[in-house]
Symmetry: C2
Subunit: 358 residues, 2 copies
């Protein structure tokens, strides 16, 4: 029946209020030059018809959509949903809407999503890129402001906000070392991504500072997916001389690693300590409770959106502006999955300060 309920236009309002469309438009845009009396009349008419201005028409006219796109590899990963939440919050309060695109860790899909977003004339984009080196060379990057989050492809330059992965990994590794571990392994992410490389480098640095070796077989190349954590974990545990501690570079891989541990009946932290990158609501309920490096996810989303908004503000012109890169500080959350090594075949010596957190 009332299918076309409420599809009124500015002209309907104008007619009902007995003014011109220009006046109605003025009211919509809070033009201060319109007499209060008219404003009231127009508003009354709007209320009467429950009028909601057509954002599409407006966008076409003013050449701004008040819309941003966010392209992420996996909506299902709690890391990204926390980020999204921050973005959403910030967007809403600035009057923006956000179009969500899941690129499914697929560079081609990412490219296509960016094209779609361009067609839809979003004002800007937040992008957590896939690892494909070619993706960021797309022409889309010239089309609208992009703020990269979490991870930048090696060689990319432009505005970005992420965790200070180097420092975080360094701190986490130091925690392991202070516990007394000497044989420490790492399961890395893609090294073509800053988040992958920086974490490895922070890890390396901490080892070097203590003159600890990193045998090739302790350096396992993962890809941030659960499966790789599992596979690498298995490889490590089956080594003739397995590590006494493992640093897993993201939440998914930690999951895989824990599965591997369970499968070969290696008890954590008794036989091997586990330090995971990424914290999540459930970390404290694991068996054992997971020691993690918590990224400031929500904050990351907020900051990224704010950064993007600032770019959009700036006269909509020179996007070339400053190439801001924000590095947010992570937080080490020590729980039960890390402990001093258990008679690991080697010297368990020196005072072990478990409570250290610095």
């Amino acid at each position: 029946m009332c299918e076309e309920v409420g599809l009124y236009t500015i002209r309907d309002i104008a007619r009902l209020a007995g003014v011109s469309v220009a006046t109605v438009s003025g009211v919509l845009n809070n033009k201060p030059t319109i007499k209060p009396k008219l404003v009231a009349r127009v508003k009354k008419a709007m209320d009467a018809l429950d009028y909601h201005p057509d954002h599409v028409a407006r966008s076409l006219r003013v050449r701004r959509t008040l819309t941003v796109g966010i392209v992420i590899p996996d909506v299902t990963n709690p890391f990204f949903t926390d980020v999204i939440r921050g973005v959403e919050q910030e967007a809403q309060s600035a009057g923006y809407s956000v179009i969500l695109c899941d690129s499914n860790e697929d560079a081609e899909l990412e490219r296509r999503n960016l094209a779609i977003l361009f067609s839809r004339r979003v004002d800007g984009v937040l992008l957590a890129p896939t690892s494909s080196p070619s993706a960021h060379e797309s022409r889309m990057h010239q089309r609208f402001p992009i703020v990269v989050i979490d991870r930048v492809p090696i060689g990319f330059s432009g505005p970005a906000v992420m965790t200070d992965n180097f420092a975080a990994a360094h701190e986490g590794t130091r925690h392991l070392i202070k516990l007394g571990h000497r044989r420490i392994a790492i399961i890395t992410g893609q090294l073509a991504l800053s988040s992958g490389l920086d974490r490895l480098e922070g890890f390396r640095k901490a080892l070097q500072e203590e003159r600890l070796a990193l045998p090739d077989e302790y350096l396992q190349h993962g890809d941030f997916q659960s499966e790789s954590g599992y596979r690498c974990g298995l490889d490590l545990l089956r080594l003739p001389s397995p590590p006494t501690a493992v640093f897993s570079c993201n939440n998914k891989m930690t999951l895989g690693l824990m599965r591997a541990l369970r499968e070969v009946h290696v008890i954590c932290p008794d036989a091997v300590s586990v330090l995971g990158f990424d914290d999540f609501e459930w970390s404290a309920y694991f068996n054992p409770r997971l020691t993690t490096i918590a990224q400031p996810t929500y904050e990351m989303g907020k900051q990224a959106m704010q950064l993007l908004l600032r770019r959009l503000q700036r006269s909509d012109g020179d996007q070339a502006g400053t190439e801001t890169v924000l590095r947010l500080k992570a937080e080490l959350r020590i729980r039960d999955s890390t402990a001093p090594p258990f008679c690991g075949g080697e010297e368990i010596k020196q005072f072990v300060d478990v409570s250290t957190q610095s």
Copy 2:
């Protein structure tokens, strides 16, 4: 410098290809009446300029945006992100984009989000409503097709897709009963939501079938938030005669419940069994591994989007159509958090068939 890169219009293409704009438009819309030769020429011109048609202008003209909105109470809840993933997938392959709105469990925000989506002239909306009874009376529900997911407010009628909560709760509770539990408590969600009420009813039914009592103090009213699970859990555990099993009606509340258990040093499942509604990737890594009722989340998202798309297809006219309600089947995943009751002060008798799953 090249700020305005690629903002070409259909006229630019027409000029370059030496045809009229109508022809270009025809090519864009795959009109079969255009000579292949011209099509080729136009396409070449498009490629040359890397032309991407303005979706905004198109939307204004054809009065369809190929956009849907999804309004959910919490992007951060893995239940919803799995749903979103299903929606996204289905939307992408149908050429739709999705605008994400987090209503933060706030009825007023939900209402506002719906209004914004209407202004943006989305073709339809997927809505996981808050519990406020008034929300679904909004005029917005007359404006565009809405498919409700997960939970419908009591009294709502319209297309919806959700889990068969009654059956799922019934099956889960039977599992507890078969393990030998007699003193079984429940922590419910909002009973003004179908998901809250139906789970309670399924639970009740299973109890009644076995002539088991449900004392008032075993019926704890939660609100699907972690905090309420914690509070209700504490109340239950401090009862003079505490239950030997607790059924928690969603993932967040289960989390709170586990926290309560830990806090009062009650061992699960030795002292009390826990059955949680909602499964997630991490359930199997909890201490203990959680027995859960897994909803078909991804499927729910897919089905909901498909249902919506079908509505949109149907001549864009009679939305009044059938009031389809899909009830998807859940799956009981038995793990370690449920076990036979431990000399709970009462008779532990009869044969206990732990492996049952029917």
